[in-house]
Symmetry: C2
Subunit: 234 residues, 2 copies
DNA sequence: TACTTCTGACATCAAGTGCTGTCAAAATCC
DNA sequence: GGATTTTGACAGCACTTGATGTCAGAAGTA
């Protein structure tokens, strides 16, 4: 494609010669096939990044893994970085959804919500280590574009934490800026523990990590005057 | 050097032909000059990594920045990764020393120790953003060798935290493994906040970060039954 | 001055990268 | 069955990388 800006699958009704509509093929519309290939390339990318690292995710490697040729790589993504970002985004969405669901299922019991959220995170890692590796490790050190996406997504997580904690807090106890810092700090703790866990092959018992993170959350909560309906340790 | 293992500057007394000792040059011994060049290359590497990212730290770029030629790069470091690791190690040592000193200066006052340690970290970042960038951001996503070094150094920090906290804790309150998790979690919070701060150009007021991290530390301390001679918030 | 060591600029190498273009063959449609 | 779109294989380009080799001349020594 020399100069035709075929980004999204919007213009599927482009005539190839004069009036022939580039219609169905293999029983599926062109846009549909394109989307299938997009998915193949994306999943191939996720697999390679998660197992061999982001540096191994070259055009040729990803294309081969996807069972397609390089041509379709560029049909699906503008360039290599776009794939990396899309791969990261997909996993981040998965985990955020996963955590949010787990938390919401315990609504009205703050203590259980914290526990469920943390558990959901570490469960995801245990269930899909490769994908988690992409989310927590392989997304680092790529470039400014990815860094931006990373910052945005981590803010989404921080907002989730903050949104959950906010209604429980005594009003005006702290400047909002400091509350944000604390939310980010807690997030950082979980992220870091997740990274360590993945790097060390998840040998450490999951509960130790969940409990350890719990204590950090609960300590901060207590300090901020949140009533979690649980007072003593353990 | 085809096969002569000239790693460290130990064998400075090697005779070139039969009995001539490869002695002084430019008024300095060979080993001394070699060390000077080592320092030049290392500092050049630190500068480039910190300002342009680790990917920009190519042989040619670093050599040019050092004012030397590629030949001396390999005289100083076995390969590119060795430089990256050495650069990271140097900054990690600097910061650890810096933090440790600040903490120790407040000995006997736990609260002040926590505060001083955190302050020292963020002060270092503010004073040397490029170096901090290398320590906190550019060291990521390089490879297994660097990851190993990173893990080792972060453990040193975690050990510092744990070592300081240990004597204050009621005995046998928690399994040691969980205590380690908590120490690492706190470290993760600080690391993550540092990363965010650097990435966003250090616009946020330093005190917000120090205070936010403080609360996390103090919350956890309270929860573990540590008496910090301070009870109420703020 | 004669001699040696040290130094820096540069050439070279193979390998790998992202990315584009070509083209025949296969799959599909009418 | 014939026309045509879609597909896959692959060559090719320009470039960069890490790493090594060459070699004349500078800096120093005696």
């Amino acid at each position: 494609m020399p100069s035709s800006g075929s980004k999204s699958g919007a213009n599927a009704r482009v005539s190839t010669r004069d009036n022939r509509v580039s219609g169905r093929y293999a029983g599926k519309a062109a846009a549909c096939r394109r989307q299938e290939r997009y998915g193949k390339v994306l999943e191939a990318g996720i697999r390679i990044i998660g197992t061999q690292g982001h540096e191994a995710a070259t055009l040729r490697a990803v294309s081969r893994e996807a069972g397609l040729t390089e041509r379709y790589f560029y049909e699906a993504f503008e360039n290599r970085e776009a794939l990396l970002i899309a791969a990261y985004q997909k996993i981040a969405d998965e985990v955020l959804l996963c955590v949010r669901r787990a938390v919401m299922a315990q609504a009205a019991d703050p203590l259980a919500m914290v526990q469920a959220g943390l558990q959901a995170n570490f469960d995801y890692i245990a269930a899909a280590p490769d994908r988690a590796r992409l989310l927590y490790i392989e997304c680092l050190g790529i470039g400014p574009g990815m860094d931006r996406s990373l910052g945005l997504n981590l803010n989404r997580f921080a907002d989730l934490i903050l949104g959950l904690a906010q209604p429980l807090l005594p009003r005006d106890i702290r400047p909002p800026a400091e509350l944000r810092v604390m939310a980010r700090g807690v997030l950082g703790a979980v992220v870091y523990l997740s990274q360590q866990w993945i790097r060390s092959g998840m040998r450490q018992p999951r509960d130790e990590l969940v409990n350890g993170s719990m204590e950090i959350c609960l300590g901060l909560a207590q300090r901020l005057g949140v009533d979690l309906a649980e007072t003593g340790p353990v």
